[in-house]
């Protein structure tokens, strides 16, 4: 089958080159899912560097007590932009990039369902990204509200806030178009014989994530539109002086914000569910229960939003309901963790870089999940709300969860994308450096939070000095280690050991096409038995 596809790929590859612009215009006008996937991944990495640089400004300020490096106003802008850029500019596009590259290859489709719309959903992103970054340079600077954009502060900010609002609108449009594309591709373009329950787990996670995105991105768009009209057009949705209620914004925001957490986490789960079976040489344990676990996580995620709002004065019964519902999410997530462990049980394990990142994910994401359970308890959360404990918790699930998973996926599929093996020694070095510095940065923040250090404040009491110094050293180490990844990728693109079609001996249609994957694949759909 592979040979047949190969031949086809070449024929059409030639065809394609005939009427394809070259140079820059190739990338601007491309409708090829592989080109667009690559652009998403590069954009994501660039934003990861920008957002990372911002976090280093934050950590530089927090290296010592007192105000040394930046003004408190600029510090607030940094925490806001760091979060918005990392969530919407780095993590989400990274997984959309994986989706673009891998979903057609995994289900045996020639391309995404709406190739032109795919081009659009990518090219909106750089515009949105420059809006966010550019807002630093307008009078009054960028939004300093934190990524949650809570009123009343967000109603009082300068025009940087309007740019953030429009940036969020554009990012939302991009995600929605991308999601419609992914759902349509998965539901309509699967190869004959590829039933839904035979689909690779990565496609399953993305199918459900895309539904989540379609359901909640418009709600966020509505919330920021209300902010915009409150700011400029005399409405008073959130302005108490006109009968509005700032707490209402928190409800609408977190109705989006909590499913958003799983929008980030589910594709990460999907990548891990590809990598762990491949390096255990076993099919994934409990495929069906995995699918149901993903679906139930997605559904429950709509009904837990107010656990971000325990201190807003919601009634006690409400607090109890949201506490129990939040704890309930730990059950399907636990199912997934146990299934991954069971997949490795008695497998023929090898520990190449993708597997190391997957294992790092498994340990650290679970740790982040546990601190999440601690925070789900209302009585505890009231003590820990807005402390560094929360910061530590969500960086364990965002960085050690999503980013580690993205690295696992990148190393896993790099040979397929470039046709070369990456440098295994450097890859492993990247993993161990990242693991060490990540924990140095964030583990100590648990202690800071438990001791009462508040987040989003550029100064702190003297007793927090030691842990903050360690955390800042860790952050700079973590940031610098990521440059190593860039080097590994460039080295891998330039050359290296030739990669075979199926480098890891893994199942899945993507490994039946040669490496690097030809420009056009599966023009004749493969048959899945």
């Amino acid at each position: 089958m592979a040979a047949v596809d190969h031949a086809h790929g070449h024929e059409h590859g030639h065809d394609g080159h005939g009427h394809h612009p070259t140079g820059l215009m190739r990338w601007v006008t491309t409708t090829n899912h592989k080109d667009i996937g690559s652009m998403y991944l590069w954009f994501s990495f660039a934003m990861f560097m920008v957002g990372g640089a911002m976090s280093l400004v934050i950590r530089a300020e927090l290296f010592q007590p007192g105000l040394q490096v930046v003004s408190p106003a600029f510090y607030n802008q940094m925490i806001t932009l760091h979060a918005l850029i990392m969530v919407f500019g780095a993590i989400m596009p990274a997984f959309v990039g994986f989706a673009n590259w891998m979903i057609p290859l995994q289900i045996g489709a020639p391309d995404m369902a709406f190739a032109r719309m795919n081009n659009w959903s990518f090219w909106i992103l750089p515009v949105a990204g420059s809006m966010l970054v550019g807002s630093m340079f307008v009078p009054g600077g960028a939004s300093g509200t934190g990524w949650t954009l809570y009123p009343p502060l967000s109603i009082q900010m300068g025009m940087g806030m309007d740019m953030a609002i429009f940036g969020v609108h554009l990012l939302g449009m991009s995600s929605i178009m991308g999601s419609i594309n992914i759902i349509t591709t998965i539901l309509n373009l699967r190869a004959p014989g590829m039933t839904l329950m035979k689909m690779p787990m990565f496609c399953w996670t993305w199918l459900i994530t895309a539904y989540l995105l379609i359901a909640v991105m418009p709600v966020l768009a509505g919330a920021v539109t209300m902010l915009l009209t409150d700011r400029h057009f005399g409405t008073t949705f959130f302005d108490a002086a006109g009968g509005g209620d700032p707490v209402l914004f928190q409800h609408i925001f977190w109705f989006f914000g909590h499913p958003e957490v799983y929008i980030i986490a589910l594709p990460a789960f999907g990548v891990i569910s590809e990598v762990i079976p491949a390096f255990s040489r076993k099919p994934i344990f409990g495929y069906t229960s995995m699918v149901y676990a993903i679906a139930s996580i997605a559904i429950i995620s709509f009904f837990v939003w107010a656990h971000h709002m325990y201190t807003t004065g919601i009634p006690l019964t409400g607090q109890l309901y949201f506490m129990y519902a939040t704890m309930l999410i730990a059950v399907p997530t636990g199912v997934k963790v146990f299934n991954w462990v069971a997949t490795m049980w008695r497998g023929e394990l090898t520990f190449e870089t993708p597997m190391l990142f997957a294992l790092g994910f498994l340990f650290l994401f679970t740790l982040g999940g546990f601190s999440g359970l601690v925070l789900s308890v209302t009585a505890v959360d009231i003590m820990l709300q807005d402390t560094y404990y929360v910061v530590a918790h969500f960086h364990y699930v965002m960085v050690a969860g999503a980013v580690f998973s993205a690295y696992a996926g990148a190393y896993y599929w790099l040979p397929k994308w470039t046709g070369h093996m990456y440098d295994e020694t450097l890859g492993k070095a990247h993993f161990w450096l990242t693991l060490f510095f990540f924990n140095l940065t964030f583990f100590v923040q648990h202690f800071l939070g438990l001791a009462g250090m508040p987040r989003r404040i550029p100064d702190y009491a003297l007793q927090f000095a030691e842990f903050n110094k360690l955390s800042s050293i860790g952050a700079f180490g973590l940031g610098l280690s990521q440059l190593l990844f860039l080097y590994v990728v460039i080295k891998c693109i330039k050359g290296g050991k030739k990669a075979e079609a199926n480098v890891w001996g893994a199942p899945g249609l993507e490994w039946t096409v040669p490496s690097p994957a030809p420009y056009h694949t599966f023009e004749e759909p493969p048959v899945v038995k």
Partner: protein, 196 residues
Amino acid sequence: MQTAETNKTTKKKRTLAMLLGGVVVVMFGFGYGLVPLYNVMCRLTRQNDIGVADQIKNTQVDLSRFVTVEFDTNTHNLPWQFKSLQTSVRVHPGEMSQAIFEVTNDRNYAVSGQAIASYGPSFVAQYFKKIECFCFTRQTLGPSETRRMPVVFVVDSELPKEVNTITLSYTFFEIEGGTTNAKKAEVKAVRRVEAG
């Protein structure tokens, strides 16, 4: 045959995309729908009912015990003098009582403020029934004006036996943009008149 197949897929793809686009529009509307839903929830749970007189259901006066109600007054960024004319009162649960508060505007221009009540211990809020209160409406004081304002209240006789002291604390907040809102209302009224 090949094209017929492709056309069928294209049509299916289009239909699905339109459907999903419809979901997007509906969810955008749902975001706005959360606004009235929130107001309904607030009414049902009575979370935001700070400016509404309480209904008295329990009229039984419990003569067997006394509760001391202490008064505390604060202002938040407001050029007003605010005090209670009595430091505390001793009442029987179920008995109707009154306390008088006095507020003076220190400035030579009109200022609007809104008083917010809070209770110590906080759970007694549900047993402290205010029948009349200056905190139900915003207060606008003219230049250097002094005003005496009553609070008429009943401590519900369901109040747990172990509570013998309640602190009622009021804080006056300035209502910012009071004039702007008045102007907005004026503009709206004028528009309504013009419209017919």
